[in-house]
Every structure is written in C-alpha cells, then in structure tokens.
C-alpha cells in the first residue's frame, strides 16, 4: 500500500518560492487503479515525483508498505510525462526498453523475450532496432509505456501517458493497461487531463484543486469490470460519474484552493 500523508511541496524559497502542493493525503491500495485529475500546473507531476522518491517532500510523508520512501523504490516504475526526453537518444528502442531489465533478469534471452513482449503489446514489434528520434511522438510515448511494462513493477506511475497518441491508439492503450492490470495485479496510479479516461480506467478518481493543491474529492468509480470502451461508456452511471468529476474540476479551476483540505467523500480510504 502506497500512502501519502499531509504532503506539502514548495519549490525554491523566499520570494521566488512556489507552493505547488499544499496538503495532500491519499492512499493507493495494492492492486488498485487510481487516476489523478486536476488543472494544469496543479502539481500532479510533482506529486508523482514525490511518490517515486525523486523529490523530497517539504512536509508530510510518503510510505510504501509502511516504509518511508527516500529514494526510488525497486517495486516502482514510471512513465514520464516528458516521454521524449526520458528515452535515451543514443540507444535503440530495444535497448531503451531493456535499460531497466539488466538488474532484474540475468539472462539475455530472458530480457530479449520481455522486450519483445512489451514492444508487441504497444504495437511496435517491428521498431526495436530503430532509434527513438526516428519515431513519431506518439510512438515514442508507446516506447516509454513499453519500458514501464517490461520492468514488471508492483506499482506503475503513469504521467499523462496517452497525451500524444490518436484517439484509436489511445483507446487501445487504455485497454492494454487494463488488461495488464487484470493479468498481473499491478497497482496503477495514472495522471490524466481526460475525465472520460479517468472514469473509464479507475477504481477511484482523485480530483486535485489548482495550485497550491489539495484533494477536492476522491470519487469512487463503481462501474463493473471488465470495462469496455463502448459498453462501459454508454452506462448511465458512467455519464453521472463523468459529470460529477467535471463539475468538481470546473468549480475548482477558477477558485483559489481553500486553506484547509476539503472533506473527502466517496469511497475514500479503505485499507
């Protein structure tokens, strides 16, 4: 279980200090799929960086299975928002995907199999020997996703992973992520701007306010699984949840965050 308690993150100090996150508390249970939505600049990327131990919180704690997170935990992988810069231009697509596998799998054949599998999963099986800069933005983003999947983490953090792919590919990748999660039970924490996507994927949607951010509400998504792009999205409940999240975001986007964290409704924190 990943838990964040009263997380605060301020960049810089003195006159130039930027308070990105004011007060965030949330837990992500094992095997849960949590989506985070919030306006641009709300501090979503900042939150993920604190979660994966790249940034030290200014205040509050991040714990993974009870242990405080002080550096990147082995059990976690990330798909960065800045996907093109997170791929190494000097390595082929294959080597990029295989980069984190060296320390997990000793045999080269083992690694090759996983690389191949992950690339096939994102539909790039024939691009292994290309370089990232030979691919389109959307393809690069899929390579970054493949790298996260090949690592087979217990927790996968995804920061707007489908931002630059077309609608059809996006739907395919969403379903891929759902299948992976179904098959492996990996815990997913996904940041997105797309409310439909958040509701479609998640067990819970965490709505963040504008900067300095707090949790506005955690919305439990009680849609049946397995989900289906057409069937799930035509459910009346889907439309209700979607409208509810949209309303929350609209209300918070143009208002400054309240000083105290808003009451958490919905399913909130089990575990």
């Amino acid at each position: 279980m990943l838990s964040v308690t009263h997380l605060r993150k301020t960049y810089g100090s003195g006159g130039q200090a930027v308070e990105a996150i004011r007060d965030l508390t949330l837990t992500v249970g094992k095997g849960e799929f949590v989506c985070i939505v919030g306006p641009s600049g709300a501090g979503k990327t900042t939150l993920l960086k604190c979660l994966c131990g790249l940034l030290a919180p200014s205040d509050g704690t991040v714990t993974l299975d009870g242990e405080p997170v002080t550096g990147p935990p082995k059990a976690m992988a990330s798909v960065f928002q800045d996907y093109s810069r997170s791929l190494m231009p000097w390595f082929s697509v294959e080597r990029n995907v295989g980069l984190p596998l060296r320390n997990k799998h000793r045999s080269a054949a083992d690694r090759a199999k996983r690389i191949e599998g992950a690339l096939a999963a994102v539909g790039l099986e024939s691009f292994g020997s290309r370089y990232p800069w030979e691919l389109s933005g959307g393809m690069q983003q899929r390579v970054a996703i493949a790298r996260g999947l090949a690592y087979e983490p217990e927790i996968l953090l995804l920061d707007e992973p489908f931002a630059s792919v077309d609608a059809q590919t996006r739907a395919d990748l969403e379903d891929l992520i759902l299948r992976v999660r179904e098959a492996t039970g990996v815990t997913m924490l996904l940041v997105t701007h797309d409310i439909d996507e958040a509701v479609y994927l998640a067990d819970r949607v965490v709505v963040m306010s504008a900067r300095p951010s707090v949790v506005v509400e955690t919305v439990a998504v009680d849609l049946p699984r397995p989900r289906d792009q057409v069937a799930t999205k035509s459910l009346a409940r889907f439309a209700e949840l979607r409208a509810h999240v949209l309303r929350l975001i609209r209300n918070t986007a143009d208002q400054p965050a309240p000083a105290a964290p808003a009451a958490v409704t919905g399913a909130a924190h089990e575990d």
Binding site: L54, G71, P72, S78, M88, P89, L99, P100
Partner: protein, 265 residues
C-alpha cells in the same frame, strides 16, 4: 541543426570545385608576385616550394621529423584528454572537488604554456618529454571545460529515468552520463588535437627539440627558404588530415546525435 545541403550533381561539383579554385588562385598570385620580383628573397616562388616537397617526399629525414612530431602530439593529446576529462568530470559531478580546484584552474588556464619552457629545458634538457609535457598541459584546458559543461548539461529527465529504474552508479555513468557527455568530449578532442599539434611544433622550434619544429628552425636559420616553406605546408597538411580523421570518427560514434542524424525511412 544545419539545413541539409542540396545534393544535386551541380552543387556537389561546385562544393568541391570552389575551394580548389580559390586555393589555385592564391597560389597563382603568389607565383606571379614572385616572378615579378615584388616579393622579398625570403619568400621563394611557390613552384620552388612545390619542387622541394616533390624532391623530398621520399626523404627519410623529413619523415623522421614528421614521426617525432606525431609522437609528441599523440602522447600529449592522450594525456591531456585523460587528465582533462577526469578532472572536468569530477569538478562537474562533485561539488567539493569543484570548490577545491576552481580557483587553481581559473588561475592556471590563461597562462600560455611557453612560459614554462625555460624551466623545463633547464630541468629536462631539449628532450621530447619537455614537448610532451607542455603540449599535454595545453590540451588539458579545452578537455576540462568541455567535459565540465557536458556533465552539467546531462538532461535531468534522463537522470531521473535512470534513478527511477534503479540503475547503479556505474550503470548511470556508462549508459547515461558518458553518452550524453560524448558530443562535448568529442568537440574537446578536436580542439585539443589542433592545440596540441600547434604547441608541440612551437616547442620543438623554440627548444630545438627534434621534430618538424626543429627542422623548420634549422632551415630558417640557414636560409633554405624553399625547404622552410615546404615544412610549413607539411604542418598545415598534418593539421587538416588529423582534423578530418577526428571528424570521421565523430560522425560514426555520434550517429544518434542531432548534428549527425539522418532519417532513413
């Protein structure tokens, strides 16, 4: 990125022909001025220089001198690259090292190496060691600053990626830092190579240490001007050839880098 050159046959012929034409024109002017007597006796006609080079192309002495100079160049460059890269990298990566060394480096860097020549000659005599030491010192500075800025410029997203996926320090160095610093180091090597050759020849000349520099000095002192200019032409050629060789290696090693990329669909 530089715009791609048009690859039509005409432009590629022109790209080759234009530099040849300007060179030929300058040589013709030199020849003409000599023939008309406008130039002093210390500047022989270019045809004499060419004739001397032709006569001596097979001369053992000349090639021995070339070999000596290349030997100085190679050892000095290697030492300069190793030391400069190590120190520059350490200064960029480890704040304490930077604080310790930055003052010394800023003080020493602008001092021309020739000022150390007298003391080196006193200590070691007119030997190859003197030339190698001084040329190596000159090569250190461009390597040091290129490596320093290269390491400072490693993309933070690449660093984060490496950290998140749990790469060890050694893996991060080899797979992330080294490749992203390589373009800077490569430029540093080309600059250092030119400087090393220049300093080596200058030190040979001033210190009368065997090599192209000393050969040049001997011809000059004895007034053998066609030979002197022949040696000058030879040093120029040496610089061009070495630079071209490094550019070739760089194009191969940095195929992935934005300045060498070719999209092949």
């Amino acid at each position: 990125m530089t715009p791609p050159r048009l690859a039509s046959p005409l432009t590629s012929v022109l790209n080759f022909l234009l530099p040849v034409l300007t060179t030929a024109a300058l040589l013709a002017i030199w020849e003409g001025l000599s023939a008309s007597g406008a130039l002093p006796a210390e500047i022989p006609p270019v045809s004499d220089v060419g004739a001397w080079l032709g006569d001596n192309a097979g001369a053992g002495d000349l090639w021995t001198a070339v070999g000596q100079t290349l030997g100085h160049w190679a050892v000095a460059l290697l030492a300069g690259v190793v030391i400069g890269t190590a120190v520059g990298g350490a200064m960029a990566a480890i704040p304490v090292v930077n604080e310790l060394l930055v003052g010394v480096v800023e003080f020493l860097r602008p001092i021309p190496v020739v000022v150390y020549l007298p003391i080196m000659l006193l200590m070691l005599g007119a030997t190859s060691e003197v030339v190698v030491w001084l040329a190596a010192v000159a090569a250190v500075w461009p390597m040091l600053s290129q490596t320093f800025y290269g390491v400072r410029d490693v993309d933070p997203v690449s660093r984060d990626t490496a950290r998140v996926f749990g790469l060890t320090t050694a893996q991060r160095l080899v797979w992330v830092t080294a490749p992203s610093v390589l373009p800077y180091v490569s430029t540093g090597v080309r600059i250092a190579s030119t400087i090393t050759l220049l300093v080596a020849i200058a030190m040979e000349l001033i210190g009368a240490v065997p090599g192209l520099g000393a050969t040049l000095g001997t011809y000059a002192a004895n007034g053998v001007y066609d030979a002197m200019y022949g040696v000058i032409v030879l040093t120029g050629l040496l610089g061009v050839v070495l630079n071209a060789a490094f550019e070739r290696i760089e194009r191969r090693a940095l195929r992935w880098h934005a300045s060498h990329r070719t999209r092949n669909a």
